[in-house]
Amino acid sequence: MLNTDIFTQIGLNHYLFLSAILFVIGMAGVLLRRNAIVLLMSIELMLNAVNISFVAFSKYSGKMEGQIMVFFVMTIAAAEAAVGLALAVTIFKRFREVNIRFFEHLKG
């Protein structure tokens, strides 16, 4: 008899697993994709993954601070997206391209 509790009894760990998987997917995007805008999207994905774990902790510990943190993170994420996209626009203006391989100048 297979123990199906793991499928039926949803707990903190489930949300944390979901968060971890999303985070890793976002990270893979950051590492692998060459389009700067998709890169930014992947970062958003990572931030969202973290948000899930914050909210999950908040719920299972009964403290509202987790949600406050999510609130802050969202604001920061929005700001970051704005700046990142502004940068992408600038880069596009210069190179007519947003491929990350044009940014191989990040060395002394």
Binding site: L31, I100, F103, L106, K107
Partner: protein, 643 residues
């Protein structure tokens, strides 16, 4: 307090002179610089006289002024004070140094007035005086060593003063390097004394010397005194390290008079006299000193017989006379050694300055074959040189007679002496009389061999005044130390010098009662032979000028051998310098180039390779950097979880 002030003035006045001239050597003309330097030396001399008065005013037993300026260093049990001590022994030295020094400064004003670097010259001369005073006044070996090195430096600077001539610069270097050999031995001696006594202070060392002499060759005190003596052979130009002094004549002539005749070269003698109880404690060292001194006296005198350069003759004469001083201290006759040091300072400075005056008159010509008959052109120089000549050949009653005779007598009579030593000294004296007469004859007497275009003239007053003063001193200074036997004959004249020094100098142990007859006989023999030899030289060089040529033809081989200074320089070159150079070269090639250099290249290659390896990590790609962050994260997490 006033003592401190006096000694400060004495020592610092030349240093201030050096600073004034040294810092403004480009702007000071020869006259200004000479004035400043001479004034500095004169102030020093006045302080020396005042200190001398002070000493005389003190009771006989307590005649010493000790001044401690500051504690120089304290390392474990080694405690060195920058302390100075004036006592009857070194008050004589400072009077000689500052007195003769002032006269030579005065002489230099005129001698150097046409030289471009005159201010530099006077600065060096003042610096020399300062260092010499430190050497003589220091109350411990280390302070003395500071002065010892300082005078070596000044000697080097002044020998190579005309450094644009590479021969002269090389002579300076030769002096410096030869002195370093001696200095190294001096240091070793100092270490041994420190190990034995735990102090470097002269008075403490002299008080701690055991009463009974040591007859072992290997005792630390014997070795220590031997090393100190080797140091002295370097500074005072004795066998085997005398070779630098003749070459040192490359410097300006007043320098030869001050440094290489009157003061610096006597430092070794002074050092031994200063430590006389210690040296008396080690008879083996004394024997070595006496033998070396006697041999040097004869050997240098024999070379002096053959030289043609007026300054070279005087240089070998200086080496020879220094040999007498070492012979004196070697047989325990410290008073006689100091006495000869003093009289020699007077008459040899006089003769060097006289030769300077001659060279000046002859337009820088130093070869005595091109002189002759200068007597009528330069009467004052001739007259003063004549007195110097009479003093050095030991003609009574000039100063050289008293001092040299006392040395010869004591080398015969002292229990540390030996008739053979007396014989060496006597042979040296006979040779001295010969070469000095030869020098006089070729320079001043006989027919003139001066080239047509040179018109010798008497030197200006600034040069002749020091000559006259030194001539007076050379003539009469001998009466300070009248030998007992003559004093008795003349109505018990006291030996002023010996009495004055009695506090500092230990008497020769087991000295027998002097046999008056023997003393008189020996004295007559040495003086008689010297006079005969002088007469012979006069006969050979004035009466029959072709005679010396014929004579040298007969003993050509020997003459060549002596004329080339016994090939000592060549022997050193072949046996010491060349092997050293070759060894150094091979070490340079096999060790330095092939091993050390390559090792450093390997290291640099490894670092370079590692650098280029690591550099490829920083490729400028954003995502690669992100990957490093991810890998770092993985590692950190792994570390945390595994732990």
């Amino acid at each position: 307090m006033s003592h401190q002030l006096l000694i400060s003035t004495l020592i610092l006045s030349p240093l201030i002179g050096f600073l004034i001239n040294g810092l403004r050597y480009k702007r000071h003309s020869a006259n200004v610089a000479g004035g400043v330097a001479t004034a500095a030396a004169a102030i020093s001399f006045l302080s020396a006289i005042l200190i001398f008065m002070e000493l005389l005013a003190m009771p006989k037993e307590g005649r010493q002024i000790a001044v401690n300026f500051f504690e120089w260093m304290t390392v474990a049990s080694l405690k060195i004070n920058m302390g100075f001590l004036v006592d009857p022994l070194n008050v004589i030295m400072i009077l000689i140094i500052t007195g003769v020094g002032s006269l030579i400064h005065l002489f230099s004003v005129s001698y150097m007035h046409h030289d471009e670097g005159a201010a530099k010259y006077f600065a060096y001369l003042n610096l020399f005086l300062f260092n010499m005073l430190v050497l003589v006044l220091g109350d411990n070996l280390l302070v003395m060593f500071v002065g010892w090195e300082g005078v070596g430096l000044c000697s080097y600077l002044l020998i190579g003063f005309w450094f644009k001539d590479s021969d002269k610069a090389a002579a300076g270097m030769k002096a410096f390097v030869t002195n370093r050999v001696g200095d190294a031995a001096f240091l070793l001696g100092m270490f041994l004394l420190f190990v034995s006594f735990g102090t470097l202070n002269f008075q403490e060392i002299n008080n701690m010397v055991p009463a009974d002499p040591t007859f072992s060759w290997l005792s630390p005190l014997t070795l220590g005194t031997l090393f100190l003596f080797i140091g002295a052979t370097g500074k005072s130009a004795q066998i085997p390290l005398y070779v630098w002094l003749p070459d040192a004549m490359a410097g300006p002539t007043p320098v030869s008079a001050l440094i290489h005749a009157a003061t610096m070269v006597t430092a070794g003698v002074y050092m031994i006299i200063r430590l006389n109880p210690l040296f008396l404690h080690t008879p083996n060292t004394m024997l070595v000193i006496a033998i070396i001194g006697g041999l040097t006296a004869v050997m240098a005198a024999s070379i002096g017989l053959t030289q043609w350069d007026i300054k070279k003759v005087l240089a070998y004469s200086t080496v020879s006379q220094l040999g007498y001083m070492f012979l004196a201290v070697g047989v325990g006759a410290f008073t006689a050694g100091l006495f000869h040091l003093m009289t020699h300072a007077f008459f040899k400075a006089l003769m060097f300055l006289g030769s300077g005056s001659v060279i000046h008159a002859m337009h820088e010509e130093q070869d005595i074959r091109k002189m002759g008959g200068l007597k009528k052109h330069m009467p004052i120089t001739h007259f003063t040189f004549l007195i110097g000549w009479l003093a050095i050949i030991g003609m009574p009653p000039f100063s050289g007679f008293f001092s040299k005779d006392e040395i010869l007598w004591l080398s015969f009579h002292s229990p540390l002496g030996h008739p053979a030593l007396w014989a060496l000294g006597a042979v040296g004296a006979v040779m001295t009389a010969f070469y000095m007469t030869r020098l006089m004859a070729l320079t001043f007497w006989g027919k003139s061999r001066v080239p047509q275009d040179v018109h010798p003239h008497e030197s200006p007053a600034l040069m002749t005044i020091p000559l006259i003063v030194l001539a007076i001193l050379s003539a009469f200074a001998g009466w300070l130390g009248v030998p007992h036997v003559i004093g008795a004959a003349l109505g018990h004249l006291p030996n002023i010098l010996a009495e004055f020094l009695s506090l500092n100098i230990k008497p020769i142990p087991n000295l027998a009662e002097a046999n008056v007859t023997t003393e008189i006989i020996l004295m007559s023999v040495s003086v008689g032979f010297a006079l005969i030899s002088a007469a012979l030289a006069y006969h050979m060089y004035v009466r029959n000028p072709e005679l010396p040529g014929k004579f040298t033809e007969k003993v050509k081989g020997l003459h060549n051998f002596v004329y080339n200074k016994y090939f000592v320089d060549e022997a050193y070159e072949g046996s010491i310098i060349q092997p050293l150079v070759q060894t150094s070269k091979s070490i340079w090639f096999y060790v330095d180039v092939n091993f050390i250099d390559k090792a450093t290249y390997w290291i640099s290659d490894i670092i370079k390779g590692g650098g280029s390896l690591v550099r490829s990590l920083q490729n400028g790609n954003l995502q690669t950097y992100a990957m490093y962050v991810a890998i770092g994260l993985v590692m950190t997490l792994t570390f945390i979880l595994v732990r």
